[in-house]
């Protein structure tokens, strides 16, 4: 509807405009074209408006195509009509103009003809006066034929239109004889002449018969020489002349005959007749008086044809028009006086002529000689408008079509986009689903393989099974990675927010790779700056994943040299950038050159905008670098390092394995931690990967944390070493820094010297004695004599002989050296250094009792023995044998063990107040399984906590503990995923407060797993009865 309205409005406006312009155009001529341009402008503005409206319309609702078709059609038809109208209008204008021109020309001619005629007539009238004066007024007459003829001849120029003048006198019959006698001729009649036309040659007046007897006669007595033949002829006998004469004497004015062929010349002519009166008559005299007073008649012959011809010759442009002069006294039979009779139905214009005779009517008819020319202006203008309109229509059409096409395309694109997005989501979902679905049976396969390994197998079979299990594990790892990638891509991955110890995480990762590093002879080291807080809040699992990934890559590609992990605060690094650049390339962990790690964080935003770091906020930004001396990444491959599934080359996966997904996942994880990742790599020298990650500070957010901090793993062992002093002999400052960091974690004061001499001097100078000396293996091997000398002097100079340790990279070589050096009290500490291992080694060497389990080398019992004595632990298992074994294991480490064989018993025992520090519970029990028992215990704890909280129960009766929550550990031999997941599910549904996956523990009754369990307990702040949720 809107469209229609616009269209109609527009066409109306255009019409008005056009009409206006057209009239103006015809008036202004030249400026017309300009006007048309204006008109066009207006049209185009309208079209623009229409477009505008169209777009608005599009915005709200899509106009159907048919609408546009109709609009277009009406547009075309409308403009066709308009152009036809313009054509008609313009051609009519032209015709009108032509008519006007013709009219003015015709009028001009008529007026001239009339004027000249009047002049002649006046002269004839003057002549009649002359005759009445000199012929009739005088007696005898002063005029005779001779005089008359001469006079008229000489005054002929006065009467340009008359060919001749004659005078006839009135003669009554009574006077005829006397008259004839007087004149000497008889009055002759004219009518015979008319009947028998004569030729000029044999013209003879004698041929005329004498006039019959009439009442009166009007014989010509005087005549101009040209027409002297008419003398003696009675005018009254001629039909035309008689009428003329009668009318002339009656009216007293000049009268005209109808045109008739003249005597002798036989040309068409008219005769003007004036009556000559005897006396002056008043103007109001009656016709009878006039007849009575008549003396004679003066007649002038007008040769109309030649007359008009002559006249027209005088005028310009005579050839453009045709002139006809007609006597129209008798309307129905007009007598042509001049001009061709060629009838033409073209334009004809009539001008009335007044020759002074009211009886006779004459008119002049004018025509153009040529037919009217084609109205080219009108034709071109209208066609032009039509063409423009059609073009505009075409443009509209094309535009609409184009818009429709573009819209269609756009719709298609949208569809495709949706499809593509859906496909992407589907891909991720598919990956996630399939991965999950594969993982579940894979766990079954792994579990079964594990069981298969326990069966009676020979060596080959065992090897096969091991290989199968290793492959299965690799597959599960890959699936987990793919699952991670899919989760990240679909945005489903969320980071946890739990407290964790960064140093412990790095220790764990280090222990993971220590075996491999030792096999390859690559030195592995971790250094964490003192500025980094003990605990952070974040996702330790994911952080660990990134570190593991980077270190895994490093160790894969490094054959010699070192892998060095450093952790700093971002602020710290920014401050020290200038200092760092000074460090020489040789000052690295193993002495091999490395890729400068400064380069790896060049592009980081964090460094470019320092203002974004708020020193007072809770957030802690750490920067982690993993530096290796591996083969490096080829320059051409560096750009796609973070692209999933893109490895450096196809040969890489053959030689080193892996999917190439790890770095991509790491990058995503780093991004999730609001950090950045970057690297620098020099082929054949090594790579350094650096990433930043944002955490929140753990210590400031919770008060309860402080009490837990004391019981940290490292702290629990460090109490033994607190206040002791150590001397590290190492010429390489970076390595010494790492050693110092680890030793300091145990609370030992460290001094670093670079060679033997300095070492000895500091030992002898030092006020307080050193308890231990740690010597880098490199120093030891370089100079065996020097070392022997040092040991000798050590014993002499020192107040108390310190224990000497060798920091060694690989165990085998160091052992060989030890034996050759022959120093018996030298203890080897294998690298990589870790606080727990270092503590164990030191303790073994320095402590008196060495009860540790020698089998593992790691001495896990060491901490357990400190941990368990005096602790009261409840073990719940329906199987007596299992119960006995588990109790035995715990008792061995000094725990006070209470056994229960049923769930109900456990619930009774664990109803507060009680003195149990932890509970180990079997999951599968008859009557009441572990899950149910745990749930009941938690319920009762919650109940009592609430009541204490509301003051219903006094805290005193509950050992001053207001928040009862005993750690419960699940015991199961079933290590298959399903049980793990079930535990998780239970924890989620029953947990109090936030719980992380890592709070879950699965302990087997088998002692190695039990140790793991206890270690885990130890780590997770087992002693204070705080809000730790275990199942």
């Amino acid at each position: 509807m809107l469209c229609c309205w616009i269209a109609s409005m527009m066409s109306m406006n255009c019409l008005i405009n056009c009409q206006f312009k057209c009239t103006e155009a015809s008036l202004l001529g030249d400026s017309g074209t300009k006007m048309w341009f204006k008109c066009w402008d207006i049209i185009s503005t309208y079209s623009f408006k229409i477009h505008h409206h169209y777009y608005q319309f599009i915005g709200s609702k899509r106009v159907s195509k048919t609408w546009w078709r109709k609009l277009l059609l009406s547009w075309v038809i409308g403009w066709t009509v308009v152009s036809i109208w313009i054509f008609c209008y313009m051609s009519s204008q032209a015709t009108e103009k032509r008519r006007e021109t013709l009219a003015s020309m015709c009028d001009e001619r008529a007026r001239m003809l009339q004027d000249q005629f009047n002049v002649s007539m006046n002269h004839i009238q003057a002549m009649s006066i002359l005759i009445s004066t000199f012929h009739h007024g005088k007696n005898p007459s002063a005029i005779d034929q001779m005089t008359f003829a001469r006079y008229t001849e000489r005054t002929a120029f006065e009467r340009p239109l008359t060919s001749g003048v004659a005078y006839a006198v009135r003669v009554l019959h009574s006077e005829r004889e006397q008259f004839e006698k007087h004149q000497g001729w008889t009055i002759k009649r004219m009518d015979t002449l008319e009947k028998n036309p004569v030729h000029k040659d044999d013209y003879n007046p004698d041929l005329f018969e004498p006039s019959p007897i009439q009442e009166e006669y009007a014989p010509v007595i005087f005549a101009q020489d040209i027409i002297s033949h008419v003398i003696s002829i009675d005018l009254l006998s001629g039909k035309e002349d008689r009428e003329n004469v009668l009318r002339a004497r009656k009216s007293g004015k000049g009268v005209l005959t109808a045109p008739f062929p003249l005597l002798k010349t036989n040309r068409l002519g008219v005769i003007l007749t004036f009556a000559v009166y005897k006396r002056d008559l008043p103007s109001n005299a009656t016709p009878n008086e006039r007849i009575q007073a008549t003396n004679g008649y003066l007649g002038g012959v007008f040769d109309v044809e030649s007359l008009v011809e002559k006249l027209l010759h005088q005028l310009a442009s005579k050839q453009t028009i045709l002139v006809n002069v007609l006597d129209t006294t008798n309307r129905s039979y007009p007598i042509s006086m001049y001009g061709s009779n060629a009838s033409d139905d073209g334009l004809e214009l009539v001008s009335h002529l007044n020759f002074g005779d009211p009886f006779r009517k004459h008119e002049m008819r004018c025509r153009f000689k040529q037919k009217p020319p084609w109205p080219w202006l009108a034709i071109t203008t209208s066609i032009g408008i039509l063409v423009i309109a059609l073009l505009v229509g075409h443009i509209f059409h094309a535009a609409v079509n184009r818009i429709a096409k573009v819209e269609d395309d756009c719709h298609k694109m949208m569809e495709l986009k949706k499809q593509a997005e859906a496909a992407d989501v589907a891909k991720s979902q598919f990956l996630a689903t399939v991965s999950h679905e594969i993982r579940t049976p894979m766990n079954g396969v792994l579990g079964m393989l594990h069981m298969l390994m326990d069966t009676d197998l020979d060596v080959t079979q065992l090897d096969y099974v091991r290989t199968a299990q290793a492959s299965g594990k690799a597959l599960v790892a890959l699936i987990n990675e793919v699952l991670d990638q899919a989760k990240i891509e679909s945005g489903k991955l969320e980071l946890e927010e739990v407290q964790f110890d960064l140093r412990a995480v790095l220790d764990d990762v280090l222990s993971l790779f220590s075996g491999k590093a030792q096999d390859k002879g690559v030195e592995l080291a971790v250094f964490i700056s003192d500025q980094v807080p003990e605990t952070l809040i974040g996702d330790p699992g994911r952080f660990r994943q990134i570190i593991t990934n980077l270190m895994g890559n490093s160790i894969k590609f490094t054959e010699k040299g070192h892998i060095h992990v450093t952790v700093h605060l971002v602020e710290e690094v920014i401050d020290s950038i200038e200092v760092e650049t000074e460090s020489s390339s040789n000052n690295t962990l193993s002495g091999f050159p490395v890729a400068d790690r400064l380069q790896s964080w060049k592009g980081f935003r964090t460094f470019s905008q320092e203002g974004s770091i708020h020193p007072f906020s809770d957030s802690i930004n750490i920067i982690v670098s993993v530096e290796d001396t591996g083969e490096g990444i080829p320059i051409e491959a560096q750009s796609r390092v973070f692209t999933p599934f893109m490895q450096v080359g196809p040969s890489i996966s053959r030689t080193h394995g892996g999917t190439g997904i790890g770095l991509s996942i790491s990058k995503c994880l780093v991004n999730l931690m609001k950090g950045e990742i970057g690297f620098v790599s020099i082929p054949k020298i090594g790579s350094t990967f650096t990433f930043t990650a944002g955490f929140t500070s753990g210590s400031s957010s919770s008060k309860e944390y402080k009490s837990q901090q004391i019981n940290n793993q490292t702290n629990s062992v460090s109490s033994e070493f607190r206040g002791k002093r150590a001397l590290v002999v190492d010429p390489r400052s970076v390595r010494a820094k790492v050693s110092r960091y680890h030793i300091q974690r145990l609370g030992i004061h460290v001094e670093v010297v670079s060679d033997w001499k300095q070492g000895l001097s500091s030992i002898s100078q030092g006020g307080s004695a050193f308890n231990m000396v740690l010597i880098e293996q490199e120093v030891w091997d370089q100079d065996l004599n020097g070392s022997a000398h040092f040991i000798d002097n050590l014993e002499k100079r020192a107040i108390t002989t310190p224990k000497v340790f060798l920091l060694s990279n690989s165990i085998s070589s160091s052992r060989a050296n030890t034996t050759t050096s022959g120093v018996c009290n030298l203890t080897v500490i294998p690298k990589p250094l870790r606080a727990s291992m270092l503590a164990a080694s030191l303790q073994r060497a320095m402590g008196d009792g060495n009860k540790g389990n020698p089998r593992n080398g790691e001495l896990p019992s060491l901490s357990l023995q400190n941990l368990l004595p005096g602790r009261k632990i409840l073990i719940v298992d329906d199987n007596n044998v299992n119960l006995k074994v588990a109790a035995g294991a715990l008792k061995k480490y000094g725990a006070d063990v209470v056994s229960a064989s049923r769930g109900m018993e456990a619930i009774e025992l664990l109803t507060p107040p009680h003195r149990f520090d932890a509970c180990f519970m079997d999951i599968q029990m008859p009557e009441m399984d572990g899950f149910e028992a745990t749930k009941r215990i938690r319920d009762s704890e919650q109940n009592i906590n609430d009541r204490i909280h509301f003051g219903e129960l006094s805290v005193e009766t509950y050992n001053n503990i207001s928040n009862w929550h005993v750690p419960i550990l699940a015991m199961t031999a079933d290590v298959i995923q399903a049980t793990h997941e079930e535990c998780l599910r239970r924890i989620r549904s029953e947990s109090v407060g936030r719980t992380s996956v890592h709070d879950l523990l699965m302990a087997s009754v088998q002692p190695p797993l039990l140790w793991h369990a206890l270690r885990y307990l130890n780590k997770s702040q087992f002693f204070p009865r705080e809000k730790n949720v275990f199942l």
Partner: protein, 149 residues
């Protein structure tokens, strides 16, 4: 008998037990748990295992004789037996238990009965082996020697 010979015989016998798959790592760890404070720990645990197992085997035999067999109950018993056998490291018994539980899940009476036979057999085997091992140990101890680890 010479003490050294006894000790060697003991070590050989023990090794053969491991080798033939009667015992596994778990038994070693069990032995490690024994110390001055708890000198008879292994024997105590093992005799507890014997008592327990015999009770369970009888229960199982009785349960399988029933007209309508309560597989849930049987499964629970076998689970118990499996747990205790794995606790002392009697891995052959444990393995049969795994198969037993599978049959139990399938509710296969014949399989169950067959497995019960096997379990009985394996149990009596491991019992005699362990008893003779303890006898040897006792002999060494009475001869004044120490048990070689």
């Amino acid at each position: 008998m010479d003490l050294v010979q006894l000790q060697r015989q003991f070590v050989d016998y023990r090794t053969s037990l491991y080798h033939e798959g009667f015992l596994d790592e778990q038994f070693t760890q069990l032995q490690e748990l024994q110390d001055e404070n708890n000198p008879d720990f292994v024997v105590e645990v093992v005799s507890l295992f014997f008592e327990d197992s015999e009770r369970l085997l009888n229960e199982l035999a009785r349960a399988l004789e029933q007209q309508s067999i309560d597989y849930k109950r049987i499964d629970a018993h076998v689970h118990q037996l499996k747990g205790s056998s794995s606790s002392i490291g009697a891995q052959r018994v444990q393995k049969v238990c795994i198969a037993f539980r599978n049959y139990c899940e399938e509710q296969n009476v014949e399989g169950c009965l067959k497995c019960l036979q096997q379990v009985r057999h394996e149990y009596s085997l491991v019992k005699t082996k362990l008893e003779s091992l303890f006898q040897l140990e006792q002999q060494i101890l009475t001869a004044g020697g120490s048990i070689p680890m």
